[in-house]
């Protein structure tokens, strides 16, 4: 199953189980969304539970907060993560704070889905990875899957969560585990074990990382597309890296991270977002707080550059296997 199909399946399964779940966003109704993630849902559940919205991300998220306060569980789509900013005030000041400021009289059980990341020649307004902004906002849970199986299980867990969850979808891997080799054809999810997705209900718990590749020499912290890039870098360098797929950025699975880095003594962090104050900063700070005395080399960050995402030079910006591999070598030689 592709990742978009898995995401669609998660919403389908949950809408069948709970008729307080409503799905809305720009072009997600009759049309099924620009990435087809809601295809068929309006036909199945009707336009009272699955509907298009005006082009107003602030309105979409604000309305969802009100619906959540009523007792519904809205699952909304922001067409691209690059367009979430008009809705940030409703997320930061309202959704994330409602439980706290009302001492749980009112809550905002909602899921905000948005495609993120580059690699599709989308330029600076269709490629962004704003995850670190969300992780700085207490009250938000931030999820970013790397494969169809997790995407479905994590989305179900997110929808069932009683607080707002930001669910980021790396659009470059909707159709296959892209590993950064843009010159080669992408293998489809159908030929990948994590592309095997049960039709029914299952959860992947929030806040739990997964070790994608056990290894002894260096810990790689990654999420989304970068998990596959890291895997490619490991096999190409032959370095015995332990690749941790964080899956949930907040709350962060520090136990798994700590255990791994204490074992390997080395750590490379990879993300596509710009470097300064990206989530890699928090990861690096956390690792050195937890594992300082075990570290044998400086923690490295391999990230997008501190520039907007360029269009034509996309692959000079994207942190590919070569850059990750070089970082692995550096920390091993250090």
């Amino acid at each position: 199953m592709t990742m978009n199909a898995a995401i669609r399946s998660a919403m389908d399964v949950m809408m069948e189980r709970d008729d307080n779940i409503v799905v809305f966003g720009e072009d997600i109704g009759y049309f099924g969304g620009v990435f087809r993630c809601t295809e068929g849902l309006q036909a199945k559940y009707g336009s009272t539970r699955v509907f298009d919205t005006p082009i107003a991300e602030g309105g979409i998220i604000g309305a969802a907060v009100g619906m959540g306060a009523y007792g519904l569980r809205p699952v909304v789509e922001i067409q691209f993560a690059d367009y979430v900013y008009p809705g940030l005030d409703q997320l930061i000041s309202e959704a994330a704070r409602l439980r706290y400021r009302s001492s749980a009289e009112f809550t905002a059980p909602m899921t905000v889905r948005m495609p993120c990341g580059g690699g599709i020649h989308g330029g600076q307004t269709h490629s962004q990875s704003p995850e670190s902004l969300f992780t700085h906002v207490c009250g938000l849970t931030t999820v970013l899957p790397s494969n169809p199986y997790d995407a479905k299980g994590l989305l179900i867990a997110s929808i069932e969560d009683d607080d707002p969850v930001i669910f980021l979808e790396p659009k470059r891997i909707y159709n296959g585990p892209f590993d950064g080799h843009h010159d080669q054809p992408v293998v489809p999810w159908s030929s990948h074990p994590l592309g095997e997705v049960p039709d029914g209900y299952y959860r992947v718990e929030l806040g739990k990382a997964a070790i994608r590749r056990p290894g002894a020499d260096v810990t790689v912290l990654a999420y989304g597309t970068m998990v596959h890039v890291a895997a490619a870098a490991a096999s190409e360098t032959g370095i015995d890296a332990e690749i941790i797929d964080l899956r949930t950025l907040l709350p962060l699975d520090t136990d798994t991270i700590e255990e791994s880095v204490n074992k390997t003594g080395r750590c490379v962090i990879v993300h596509e977002a710009t470097r300064t104050s990206g989530f890699g900063a928090e990861l690096s700070a956390t690792v050195q707080e937890l594992c300082f005395y075990r570290l044998e080399a400086p923690i490295e960050r391999v990230t997008g550059w501190d520039t907007p995402y360029p269009h034509a030079q996309e692959w000079d910006y994207f942190p590919g296997p070569a850059r990750v591999g070089a970082a692995l070598r550096r920390v091993m030689e250090a």
């Binding site: 009272t48 604000g62 009100g66 306060a69 439980r99 400021r101 009683d162 520090t254």
Partner: protein, 412 residues
């Protein structure tokens, strides 16, 4: 082709600044009873004129006249009067408490009591109100415990919000009163979302949201009107035009070029413009809008024309930016006085009864304050525990917050 003249930059100025004579000539006040009352199923395009008129029921003699007379029975009006007087007594008391340092901050609604009180008594128990910080009258009208209100303001050990929220940021689900946000306007689109949810479920309760005229400039005002019209949400969208937004008069929000009620017209939403200091007009306009919403005729915007008689908050000094006595010249008077006079005109009330009501309200508020202060104040430091600041960030406290709470307790 016209020849080029230098462009001019215009910025609206209030009619009077400190030291100048108050001047409300910009507001024209039609006679009570002069505005027609269309049936609730009238098409919005057939009643646009309502956005430019001013619905008033009480005439100069305090007599209820015209099609908008709600024909309210005396008991209901006594109840409204009680709540308005109590609200003012409450505001007085809390203002004093702030001066005494028992709390850090307070906001009055003096001169605007009729709106929240009338609205509260006209809407139903399961409806949801999305208020601003100036709608305490709703809680008092709904007889939410004064002591609970005060404990929140005092941030004491009995504060239902555990001292986490600034004073006056009440949350009272049991009174149909949504948690107040410190961020202006955000509740407006939330009210629409809540109303959409009610419609999605085929429920029967409606929502009502409030913003001040200054806040109509925020994005969420536009979002609320757009979503309300597209989904024909069962919601009342109130704009309390009290002429001032802190130091900015209503012209800064665009009030010099049009009415705030008229904002709704372009969305195909019907709008009422109402004398907000006329308690009977408040009941009547609320009833009309609520009936529209309940019978699937969709949203209504109501501009309540009133005046912010007091300072914006205890941190504000209005004499810096407007004539100190401006309220004296306010053409729509004092809502309490006007309802009082109406009841007296109906021989259902007297000056003596009124003085007794004022005195008993003061006594009730004083007693409540005494009780509330027994539970502590910001001054004596009997405030909720530090531990509680880590609660309700999430439903279940995540590991990192437990760790941080331990660190706090270890003084790290």
């Amino acid at each position: 082709m016209i020849e080029a003249v230098p462009l001019r930059f215009g910025i609206p100025e209030p009619p009077a600044r400190p030291g100048e004579l108050a001047d409300f000539s910009y507001l024209d006040v039609p006679a009570a009873g002069s505005v027609a009352r269309p049936a609730v199923d009238t098409r919005p395009s057939d009643m646009r004129d309502l956005a430019y008129s001013l619905i008033r029921v009480l005439d100069e003699q305090g007599v209820a006249v015209g099609p908008w007379d709600p024909q309210a029975d005396v008991a209901a009006l006594h109840e409204g009067l009680r709540a308005m007087v109590m609200t003012r007594a409450y505001d007085d008391r809390m203002t004093t408490a702030q001066r005494q340092g028992k709390t850090s901050f307070y906001m009055r609604c003096t001169g605007e009591e009729a709106i929240a009180v009338g609205h509260a008594l006209e809407l139903q128990a399961r409806d949801m109100f999305f208020p601003t910080y100036r709608q305490q009258g709703w809680l008092i009208a709904r007889r939410w415990p004064l002591v609970d209100m005060m404990c929140q303001v005092l941030s004491n050990e009995k504060d239902r919000l555990h001292g986490r929220q600034m004073p006056i940021m009440y949350s009272a689900r049991d009174a149909g009163f949504f948690s107040i946000s410190g961020n202006l306007g955000t509740q407006y689109i939330q009210a629409v979302g809540w109303a959409m949810a009610s419609a999605i479920k085929g429920d029967t309760c409606i929502a009502s949201g409030v913003v001040g005229e200054g806040t109509t400039a925020e994005a969420d005002f536009h979002h609320a009107l757009t979503f309300a019209t597209t989904y024909q949400a069962p919601v009342i969208l109130n704009v309390v035009n009290n002429q001032w937004a802190i130091s900015s008069f209503q012209g800064i929000a665009g009030g010099s070029q049009s009415t705030f009620a008229a904002r709704a017209i372009g969305y195909g939403i019907p709008a009422l413009r109402v004398d907000g200091n006329d308690y009977l007009a408040v009941l009547s306009a609320t009833r009309w809008a609520a009936e529209r919403a309940r019978t699937n005729y969709g949203p209504t915007l109501i501009e309540w024309v009133t005046y912010r008689a007091a300072a914006h908050s205890t941190s504000d000094d209005p004499s810096r930016y407007r004539p100190a006595d401006e309220w004296k010249s306010w053409p729509l008077g004092d809502p309490i006085e006007r309802l009082k006079n109406h009841l007296i005109a109906r021989t259902e009330w007297s000056e003596e009864q009124h003085s007794e009501l004022v005195a008993s309200s003061d006594r009730e508020v004083l007693a409540a304050a005494k009780e509330a202060e027994n539970y502590g104040t910001l001054l004596d430091g009997r405030v909720p525990s530090a531990r509680s600041i880590f609660e309700d960030v999430f439903k279940a406290m995540p590991q990192h917050l437990e760790r941080q709470r331990r660190q706090m307790e270890e003084g790290r």
